[in-house]
Each structure stands twice: as C-alpha cells, then as structure tokens.
Symmetry: C2
DNA sequence: CGCTGCCGCCGAATTATGTTCGGTGCACCT
DNA sequence: AGGTGCACCGAACATAATTCGGCGGCAGCG
C-alpha cells in the first residue's frame, strides 16, 4: 500500500484534478502507453489507494446557500452513544461531513442548508431535541476552500 | 441555476456516487437515452451545477496517518490579512481545506500529516511563526465521515 | 561473468463507448 | 384546432477502452 512511484503519483495527481479525462489523455499527459496507464489505474484502485471518483456539485445549485460548522458535546461519551449519533447524522441530508474529535468538543458537524432560517430550524429540530447532545456552538462559514490535489508526504520516492 | 428536475437530480446523485461510470451506464440506470443523458450532463456542467470530477485518494496511501483540525485566531482581522493567510495555507501540502468562520475562531484548518510528530513540527513551523496568528487550538481527528451524495434541498421538484 | 526467469511496458486488434444529427412526438400557446 | 418550440430518441460515425502477445531490462543464480 505504501509503494507508489512517480508514475503513480502523477496518475493520482491528474485524477484528482479531473477524474473524467480519458485514459488516453491521462497516459499522454504522463508519458506512458494507454494500456500501461489503464493497468496502473486499476492497480491503484484495487490496492485501495484510489477509493472512488466523485462529481463535485455546486451547493447553491442544490439550493444550499448557507454553510455552518457545529461543535457538539456528547454525554455520556461512550462508543455506543457516539456511534448512534454518527448514524443519526449520516441520515440527515443537511450534513456534509462529521469529525469525531479528541479534545474540547466531541463532534464537529459540517452542514449546508438553504438559508439562515433553515439553519436555525435545523439546529432546533435536530440537535436541541437529542438527549446525548449537552451543548453545541454554531459558526457560520463565510468561505470554504479545498485543496483538491493531495500529494504523498514524507520520503517522496518510495 | 435553480432549475433541476428529477432527471438532473438522478444524474447528480449517480455522478456523486461514481463519476467514472460510462455515459451509457448512467443513462440506463436513470432510464433515458445515452444521447439525452450526455446532453443533460453537459448542461449541468455548463450551468455550473457540476463543478468538477475528482478522484478520492486514501490518505494513508499518501503517507498521511494523522488528521487534525486547527482553530486559528487572526489579528488584525482585515480582509488583506485573511486573504494572505488563505493564500499561505493553500500553498502548504499538509492542508486539506480551510474554513473562514464567523464567531469565536476566525479560521479552521483541516490538515493531514504523516504522524503526531509531523503534526507537532507542522504547527510549530507553520503557525507559531506567523505574526497574524495570535492563537490556535488543535484537535486530533479520530474519524472523519463524509456524506458523498448531496441532494437538492427545499421544494424537491422544481 | 553470463544465463535465465520474471516483471512491466508497449502497440495493434477487438470491443465498447462517446458524440453528432436529423427526425418525431408532446405540450403549450394562441 | 392549428402551429411552434423543445426535449428526447436512435442510428451512424468517430473515438476510446480493453485485451493480449511479445519485447526489453533487471535481478538473481549458477
């Protein structure tokens, strides 16, 4: 799983940038034959290095104009309670992602909703009513930038 | 930009699940002709509803075994300083994404590094030395789950 | 030092897919 | 009721994915 040479790195970089470019384009960009390229891409997926290909959708286009982060404290802090809460979150369409944390807060939830009114309603309906949620703090997100191309770290050439 | 019928929703859902399935598969799954499907996908991209297609890479495969969230306070809190800091963050390979926030903290940074030692080094080298960073709190991430399929909100059928 | 076996890359042939374009039906407007 | 426009469809053409046999380089062994 740790073996990843320059060619693999280049493939991973290109597919993070555009996952829908053709295998021929990809091969040409990297400088290998299409058949070789196909083989390596398949190996990366089989190895678990590439876990999937996903379209990125504009949140405004999905009628979600407000994003927020909600830092939640959970009690009692047991595995069962956390797992239940995770499952609960996963079923909420407003939730984009959830972080289970070490430290002050237990869970950080990234949500995207229609507007501030919907945010308020969401918090009241989905968090206040939960018994395991003893407190939460909400921060509205002004801007969220993602670094789409993630490269290997450490000794660059394995 | 807000017009998105059932077929568009289905396309968006499918492409979020697997962006590399063939246009024919996609069309068959949804129940329309490949040519129609191609047209709609192109329209969605042209309209800005689909912003891109990205491969998802396993962080451990990239030699990043530790993730953390760093809540940063910036002073002075001016646009110029924030923009500079954003640009700075964007250039750091360890940074996965950054949130600009309203409320207690100003910026929340999601990082992925090799191990806890590398996390410590990263914080010391990249944050402590910055003049505009007046304080930061770091939370190690035990688990991060993403909701990959994001559906339109509000009135479901536009 | 040379031989041999193995692994990965390549290129052509086959199969499948993307893409274009003209026609058709439905719905809406008048 | 007639006309107009839009979206969808299906066949034809261009392009790409996939397979597979063979070649070359490298390593390990004799």
């Amino acid at each position: 799983m740790a073996i990843m040479d320059d060619i693999d790195s280049a493939i991973v970089r290109e597919l993070q940038t555009d996952a829908r470019q053709t295998n021929r384009e990809l091969a040409a960009r990297i400088g290998i034959a299409p058949s070789t390229c196909l083989e390596r891409v398949r190996a990366l997926k089989a190895r678990g290095a590439i876990t999937g290909y996903h379209a990125e959708i504009s949140l405004p286009a999905l009628n979600r104009h407000v994003q927020a982060l909600v830092a939640v404290q959970i009690r009692p802090l047991s595995r069962a309670v956390i797992d239940d809460f995770k499952t609960y979150l996963y079923g909420l369409p407003e939730v984009l992602s959830a972080f289970i944390l070490a430290g002050g807060d237990d869970v950080l939830v990234h949500v995207a909703v229609q507007d501030v009114e919907a945010l308020h309603a969401f918090l009241m309906d989905r968090f206040t009513k939960r018994r395991e949620v003893v407190s939460f703090r909400t921060s509205v997100i002004f801007e969220h930038t993602r670094n789409r191309v993630v490269a290997p770290l450490g000794e660059p050439r394995a």
